[in-house]
């Protein structure tokens, strides 16, 4: 069937079938290859995208559920070539090693910061619980989210 939805701020339409997952729609049809498949079972979080602001594992969601939704992938974060505060913080804190989990990590953290502009350290760790990283031990990733939260708040005040 044909569905319409919004991806990274742009209206899209696509032909989907019942076997197609959201990750397939994004990667294969829309070529948004920042969305990575690490386990295909909702365990690692590498395929995380935001659907109406909520982080979901796109490997678990049927593509048809994108109908009428607003989807954000990491390709949609930078505005006019300017990295988001969170993306810049990931660079500054060396929160990226191999990079395969990075897009999912950033989107999960983005969803957290949209909801809570002053998260506790525990909030940050808990938010990241569903995203596995084998390279960084999470330490620099947590620092990046912390730093981004601080910077966003500082910019507002």
């Amino acid at each position: 069937m044909k569905i319409e939805f919004v991806v990274n701020g742009e209206s899209c339409a696509a032909e989907v079938d019942s076997a197609m997952r959201l990750i397939d729609l994004l990667r294969e049809e829309l070529r948004l290859t920042s969305v990575k498949e690490g386990c295909g079972a909702g365990e690692c979080g590498a395929c995380t995208v935001l659907v109406d602001g909520e982080p979901v594992c796109s490997c678990l969601v049927p593509a048809v559920q994108a109908r009428g939704r607003d989807i954000l992938t990491v390709e949609g974060l930078a505005k006019d070539g300017q990295l988001s505060v969170l993306q810049q913080a990931f660079l500054d804190c060396d929160a990226v090693q191999c990079g395969f989990c990075t897009a999912g990590m950033i989107l999960t953290a983005h969803a957290l910061l949209m909801k809570k502009d002053n998260p506790t350290d525990e909030d940050i760790r808990t938010a990241l619980a569903g995203n596995i990283c084998r390279c960084t031990g999470y330490v620099p990733i947590e620092r990046a989210v912390r730093a981004a939260a601080d910077r966003i708040r500082a910019a507002r005040s």
Binding site: L91, C101, I106, R134, G137, V139, D150
Partner: protein, 760 residues
């Protein structure tokens, strides 16, 4: 559980991190060059690309641990448009060893690209190809295979006595020994002899990117292969062997990698993909998912180690005896090399006059093992460091004092005849670490209600390349200063995600005083970059980094001397400029003049072979709490102390340590790929394979000992592998101390802890 943590785990702000030291780039926190692409999703891994005219291949894997294929019916798959199937019957009858990385190493060959005799769940029976992955997977599901199921061998100790050898070669075990000194005399005269048996688990590397490889036939009979690998020229020789091609016709290109940890070091799907592309005269992309990556690639070898220690009356080490069995899994792969690497570590941490290390790699009906971060080092240090704590407890020695009395000193030689230990700063690691961690008070056992809290630590060593071993260590590098003064460094390096390319750029930038955004360091392509034995053996910084430094120095001197010749006046190189007589010339101006008027390009090629292979050293300290009711362990706090010589990039060094600890905590407490009696794996995906996530990680404090290592660039030595080595024994020692147990079978799962407590 977090309520129990007395120290709140605070996330550090960037400005709170220790700054770098007196260099322009070395030791600083330089952002990695590939970072911007990675945070914007533009860093394309192999499976992110589109490959014109390519077929996508999925492997038909055996569901049985041991079986022979009676028949295979592909007709329903072949009826689908565009589907092709290659089976073991089509495959070349060439045996290879996936862990052999240089011709003539004579690692026993026992593996084929496809087989009709399945030797583990996940063995490769056929390759199903289609224009897209979805079609290939549907087609694979339509193939009917009739198997004659045979008895598997799951227990490595049982493999030696199994009624029938698993392979036609009839070989039951691949032995190896290392021995020096009078072991027998030492044990005969010892005041104390202590013995333990330690078991370490099979571990999935869990690089987040599952394995993928692309191969295409090119003009003039060349096979081109794109792979996220660690040893280009090793892959080349294996593929050449399977295809019966000269090396010159096999072009291997390193492509972006989403983590390896050794899991992409051996030739896993590369020979199969190359053969399929040449057979079908089509480009072929093989992709895998997590289930396939867990069952059908490589794992950290499980090991069973019996260690006996002879001591004199003062607690001085006299001798050690080892009997070690390494589980190779279904194919020998690199397992015998892992065994020998374990043995090589036994004489490099403690002063020990006599060692007898005897072991064997055995094949079982389980997923093949191979390289995995540390290459046997985490296994042998788990064996020796858990044993050392237990013997101290039994004999009443303080574990810190006992080690301080026996640890190696800077400049010690290795009595086994291997390379000297170099500036071995393990004693400093231990004394400074114990003080910083507060070992004296943390090591006491606290007991309240069902909770027990204490601490543990473990020491370790790891190498810096292959000098002084049976393997050669050679690398080539080129540095070209270009006509605008920017620099290209051509290497056969492999970026694994650890920042190798940026670290090498920092070294070259330091020598030439060229800004890092004007330096490009290439990865390897066997047709265009020089030889290198691979990003393995913790050799990249110490060997390849030093070769880049030397090469940059030569490029600098070439430009200076050519300029001096050209202008006929004294010339010096200062701060990225040439001072010719009284005149300042930019690098670009100087290079253009030397090229146009002097007929010389500033392009230096260097072949480098190190003559040293010192030890890197480290100590990890863990503070833990055990819930004696559930057997659950919480890691409250952690300190990692590492003798790294000199950090090239402080962020990268710390990043390796944080990640190494995450892997090591899994080895200690949660990660284990077990097999049942039928040879079926306990975990097919991450739902049954538990790795530490963010909330479970302890706060991690890092202390770097930077006293310089001769022979390394700016005194640097390795960190990537050793970072994971002492973690597991530190945690196990802490748990045993807290509970008064002698648990030696890893990981310490809640079930094993509860069982051990019940037996007290």
């Amino acid at each position: 559980m977090s309520a129990l943590k007395e120290k709140e785990r605070t996330i550090q702000r960037p400005e709170e991190l220790a700054p770098g030291r007196d260099f322009r780039y070395i030791g600083q926190r330089i952002p990695r060059a590939d970072g911007p692409d990675k945070v914007t999703g533009r860093y394309d891994y192999l499976a992110d690309g589109r490959y014109d005219k390519a077929l996508v291949g999925v492997v038909l894997f055996s569901p049985h641990a041991h079986a022979k294929v009676r028949s295979i019916d592909c007709s329903r798959a072949l009826a689908m448009p565009g589907v092709r199937v290659l089976t073991w019957e089509d495959a070349p009858d060439v045996l290879y060893n996936s862990g052999e990385w240089f011709p003539g190493q004579n690692d026993h060959p026992d593996e084929r690209v496809l087989t009709g005799h399945a030797r583990h769940v996940g063995d490769r029976i056929a390759l199903v190809l289609a224009p897209d992955e979805r079609t290939a997977r549907i087609a694979r599901g339509r193939i009917v295979v009739d198997y004659e199921v045979l008895l598997p061998v799951v227990d490595p100790e049982g493999a030696r006595e199994a009624p029938e050898a698993l392979h036609e070669d009839g070989i039951r075990e691949f032995p190896g020994t290392i021995a020096f000194g009078d072991v027998e005399g030492a044990f005969a005269s010892a005041a104390h002899v202590e013995e333990d048996v330690i078991v370490t688990p099979r571990i999935h590397h869990a690089a987040m990117e599952p394995h993928a490889v692309f191969a295409a036939p090119r003009p003039e009979g060349v096979l081109e292969l794109h792979t996220p690998c660690q040893i280009l020229f090793g892959i080349q020789q294996t593929v050449a062997k399977v295809l019966n091609l000269p090396f010159s016709k096999v072009r291997i290109i390193k492509v972006p990698m989403g983590g390896s940890f050794g899991g992409k070091q051996e030739a896993v799907f590369e020979p199969l993909c190359a053969w399929a592309a040449m057979t079908l005269h089509r480009p072929v992309l093989i992709v895998t998912n997590r289930e396939e990556s867990i069952a059908a690639t490589r794992v950290r070898a499980a090991a069973v180690g019996r260690v006996s220690t002879a001591l004199d009356a003062d607690g001085k080490l006299l001798a050690r005896r080892f009997d070690v069995t390494v589980d190779a899994g279904a194919y020998l792969s690199g397992a015998r090399k892992v065994l020998m690497a374990m043995g090589k570590k036994t004489s490099r941490l403690y002063r020990i006059p006599a060692v007898e290390f005897a072991g064997r790699a055995v094949r079982t009906s389980t997923t093949p093992s191979g390289a995995c971060r540390g290459y046997g080092s985490p296994q042998i240090h788990a064996i020796t460091e858990i044993h050392t704590d237990l013997l101290c407890r039994r004999l009443g020695y303080d574990p810190v004092d006992f080690r301080l009395a026996n640890l190696v000193h800077p400049g010690d030689s290795d009595p086994s005849g291997a390379s000297d230990l170099g500036n071995a700063r393990i004693i400093e690691c231990l004394t400074r670490g114990a003080e910083r961690f507060g070992w004296d008070h943390r090591s006491k056992v606290l007991s309240w209600g069902r909770w027990r809290r204490s601490a543990g630590f473990a020491c370790c060593t790891h190498g810096n390349g292959y000098a002084g071993t049976i393997y050669h260590d050679v690398t080539e590098v080129s540095v070209r200063i270009m006509e605008d003064g920017s620099v290209v460094v051509r290497t056969s390096l492999h970026e694994l995600g650890n920042g190798t390319l940026t670290a090498v750029a920092q070294i070259v930038g330091e020598v030439l005083s060229v800004p890092l955004d004007r330096i490009v360091v290439t990865e390897g392509d066997t047709q265009f970059t020089g030889y290198d034995i691979g990003c393995q053996a913790s050799r990249v910084i110490y060997v390849c980094g030093e070769s880049a430094r030397l090469c940059a120095e030569q490029a600098k001197e070439l430009l200076r001397s050519e300029a001096e010749k050209l202008w006929g006046c004294p010339t010096t190189y200062e701060n990225g400029e040439l001072l010719v007589g009284g005149r300042r010339l930019s690098l670009g101006e100087a290079v253009r003049a030397v090229e146009t008027k002097g007929g010389t390009s500033v392009d230096v090629h260097l072949t480098y072979s190190p003559d040293r292979n010192p030890g890197s050293y480290g100590v990890h300290f863990a503070d833990i709490t055990v819930d004696t009711c559930t057997g659950l362990v919480t890691v409250n706090d952690f300190l990692a102390v590492h003798d790294v010589g000199q950090a090239i990039n402080r962020n990268f060094v710390e990043g390796q340590i944080y990640g190494g600890i995450q892997m090591g905590l899994g080895m200690a407490l949660t990660e284990e790929l077990a097999f049942d009696a039928k040879g079926r794996p306990s975990a097919r995906n991450f739902d049954k394979y538990h790795m530490f996530n963010a909330p479970e990680m302890p706060p991690i404090d890092v202390l770097l000992i930077e006293k310089g290592e001769p022979g390394g660039p700016y005194g640097a030595k390795s960190i990537g592998e050793i970072a994971t080595v002492p973690t597991a024994p530190a945690v196990v020692n802490a748990v045993n101390r807290a509970l008064g147990t002698e648990m030696t079978c890893l990981p310490l799962t809640p079930a094993r802890i509860v069982e051990a407590l019940a037996a007290l």
